[in-house]
């Protein structure tokens, strides 16, 4: 398995979750619990999957470097590993998040019990989520 650059997984309280993983070799995995499938008769349905990481696409070298820079610029490598910042959450929006960042010392995990934290750290991570999504989206 290639070195991990960044991974995020956001779980809503209902149990649904989404997220992506980007590796140094450009491989991207998506966390999914269902997907669209086309039947032999041409109809399209959704198929349940065991919730897990599934291969999605590949980034080229410049996109990988871009992802690395964004992670550093977000300040995530310096963030606390337990981002337990109090906030008054929106109702039913209560979610938790788990971020993983590849560092020189290994993989750093940031647990965010209450996503999105109403703090500079929280805003930086949700921005990073948007930026990582854009890079992956460009590759699909």
């Amino acid at each position: 398995m290639s070195e991990l650059i960044v991974s995020y997984l956001i779980r809503r309280h209902q149990g649904t979750a989404h997220g992506f993983r980007v590796y140094a070799d450009g491989q991207v995995e998506s966390y999914q619990s269902s997907r669209y499938v086309k039947a032999a008769d041409g109809s399209i349905t959704t198929e349940s999957l065991t919730p897990d990481w599934y291969p999605l696409t590949s980034l080229d070298g410049s996109q990988v470097q871009h992802a690395k820079r964004l992670v550093i610029e977000s300040g995530a490598p310096q963030m606390p590993t337990d981002l337990n910042e109090s906030r008054q959450p929106d109702t039913s929006k209560r979610s938790s998040a788990e971020w993983q960042i590849g560092t020189q010392d290994g993989i750093k995990t940031i647990i965010v019990p209450e996503w999105v934290p109403d703090s500079p750290h929280g805003k930086a991570l949700v921005e990073l989520e948007s930026q990582i999504n854009e890079i992956i989206h460009a590759a699909t």
């Binding site: 309280h13 209902q14 149990g15 989404h18 992506f20 669209y36 065991t50 109702t91 948007s130």
Partner: protein, 558 residues
């Protein structure tokens, strides 16, 4: 309001010595008091409780007609051959005449004031909602009902879009405020769905176009959606409980919820709703209400998937545990068929963590039904299914699913009934409470009224999964008081209404659809506010009424 003195009518209670005519002289109370000496209300109460001198039909009529017709008319109807209409009833030694409906004069005056506080009603924000809640309330004396109106302006938001020339799928989200971190997060979730659909190499551009157009974009069904939302919310919240006036027990109030939902936004809206077109979970973006100020009734926002109206497909009151072939051993059980997912004992510990009752509560019933696949003899499979259910029940009970109620769980086996040969049929089904899947739209409406969540979650614990729950995220621990625990801040004096705590059960602010008495705390608050009277919890449903002509055993109420 209870415990406070804020009544507008402060007339002293008048001693009433109304004579009851037409009731057989031989009727006496157990202590020997003649009914002749009782007041109307006392006499009717006695007749309603005792068979002496009155047939079962008369007794029932008294019980049900008195609250709606008043004492005098009830006596006239129940004892039509007696001299109750001779004018003797209605006179009162205290000098205050009894009105036509034989109700207290002060109550008559109160009801004669018309709609309270005015025809326009009053916009309210529950003080304990932390910025949640905003609605209009008024008391209608004619229908004896609190009318709660919520104006909802809807912005219809498309979930995804597709470039027909390139086939590229993108998030749409036009209407979401991307400067708001939570709405940006919802947009990011749309982006994740777009990326997954974009990266699905098994689908053609035409397939993706079809999916986006049919499932992720509004296409003329907006009015149908609004109609369905309105009816489901009004049905969920109206008429679930009633209140009784503390001063006049004859006066009861039902609750009617009116949802004025329209496209666009307006100054009088209590909530701006951004309804994002999505398929059902897990391809949705969930639903949430954004808190406003603690004083402005018109500043809430609802962000919700269009698929959130109606029963959610991932029913959180129902869970399954799967077993190995021809085995009832928890050591070989798992959360997914064929040994996949979480191991059986960890799953059941997570189940206990999730559904254990709050301290002092018995907890809602948990039904445990064992099943077996069709492989093998039917008699053996029946025994196997019962063994599976018993193993699960033993684990839950010994693990403390309820500290106070040993009878909370019931187990049974269905054998191979309805089963095929696949691994998915080797399982135990666990159902909490009524097991009815939540209507998320109705749950969110509870927030729009000012109620907080009652469900409970545990944080993730990768080091020890047995300390996690089955519902992720960070809610409050089981048993924690929620913000509408004592909405009037009167030290929990509102019996039957106060005392809401976090617990995973079939209540609508938890995981199900049941509107419990504590959820009517906002209506209790509103009723006391607009009437400036003290009210208490009356019971479930609407206040009991029987329309004359209703068939009863042995005859018809006349």
């Amino acid at each position: 309001m209870s415990g406070e003195s804020s009544q507008t009518h402060e007339k002293p209670q008048t001693q009433r010595q109304t004579h009851v005519h037409g009731v057989p002289d031989q009727q006496t109370t157990p202590d020997g008091t003649s009914l002749e000496s009782l007041g109307n209300a006392q006499a009717l109460q006695f007749l309603g409780q005792h068979a002496t001198g009155a047939g079962a039909l008369q007794r029932r009529a008294v019980q049900q007609l008195a609250p709606i017709l008043g004492n005098q008319q009830t006596l006239q109807r129940v004892f039509p051959d007696e001299a109750v209409a001779d004018g003797a009833i209605g006179e009162q030694e205290g000098g205050v005449p009894i009105g036509e409906e034989a109700i207290p004069a002060e109550m008559h005056d109160f009801l004669a004031r018309g709609m309270l506080p005015s025809d326009k009603g009053e916009d309210l924000v529950p003080s304990s909602g932390g910025g949640l809640g905003g609605f209009n309330a008024k008391f209608d004396p004619a229908s004896r009902a609190l009318i709660v109106t919520v104006n909802v302006g809807v912005t219809f938001v498309n979930g995804l879009q597709i470039d027909s020339s390139t086939g590229k799928v993108d998030p749409d989200g036009t209407g979401l405020d991307l400067s708001d971190p939570d709405e940006l997060d919802s947009f990011n979730e749309l982006a994740a769905h777009a990326i997954n659909l974009d990266g699905n190499t098994a689908l053609s551009t035409a397939d993706k176009q079809s999916i986006v157009d049919s499932q992720w974009r509004w296409a003329g069904e907006e009015n149908t959606w609004m109609s369905g939302y309105r009816s489901s919310v009004e049905q969920a919240w109206s008429g679930q409980h009633f209140f009784v006036n503390k001063e006049w027990g004859e006066l009861k109030s039902n609750v009617r919820v009116v949802v004025n939902v329209h496209s666009g936004t307006g100054k009088l809206d209590h909530c701006n709703a951004k309804i994002v077109k999505t398929p059902p979970p897990p391809l949705d973006i969930g639903a949430y209400v954004q808190r406003g100020s603690a004083t402005d009734p018109n500043d809430q926002e609802l962000i919700m998937s269009s698929s959130s109206v109606g029963p959610r497909p991932d029913n959180l009151l129902k869970q399954k545990l799967f077993f190995a072939n021809n085995s009832a051993s928890l050591d070989k059980a798992s959360s997914q068929p064929g040994g996949a997912g979480t191991d059986g004992r960890t799953f059941l510990q997570q189940y206990i963590n999730t559904y254990k009752s709050a301290a002092g509560n018995d907890g809602q019933p948990i039904q445990i039904i064992g099943r077996a696949s069709s492989t093998g003899a039917a008699a053996h499979n029946q025994t196997l299914s019962e063994q599976r259910a018993a193993a699960v029940e033993n684990f839950l009970v010994s693990g403390g699913i309820s500290a106070t109620n040993a009878q909370r769980t019931t187990d049974s086996g269905e054998g191979e009934t309805g089963s095929g040969s696949e691994a998915e049929f080797r399982r135990v089904d666990l159902t909490v409470g009524d097991g009815e899947a939540q209507n998320v739209g109705a749950h969110e409406f509870g927030h729009m009224l000012g109620l907080d969540d009652e469900y409970s979650t545990l944080p993730e614990n990768p080091a020890d999964r047995s300390k996690e729950g089955l519902i992720s995220g960070t809610g409050n621990p089981v048993g924690t008081a929620v913000s509408h625990n004592d909405l009037d801040n009167n030290s929990g004096q509102d019996i039957g209404i106060d005392g809401a705590v976090s617990e995973n059960n079939d209540n609508i602010m938890s995981l199900g659809n049941t509107v419990a008495p504590q959820h009517y705390s906002v209506f209790h608050f509103a009723l006391e506010k607009v009437t400036t009277k003290d009210w208490e919890y009356g019971g479930p449903g609407d206040a009991p009424t029987v329309v004359p002509g209703t068939a009863v055993p042995g005859g018809v109420i006349t």
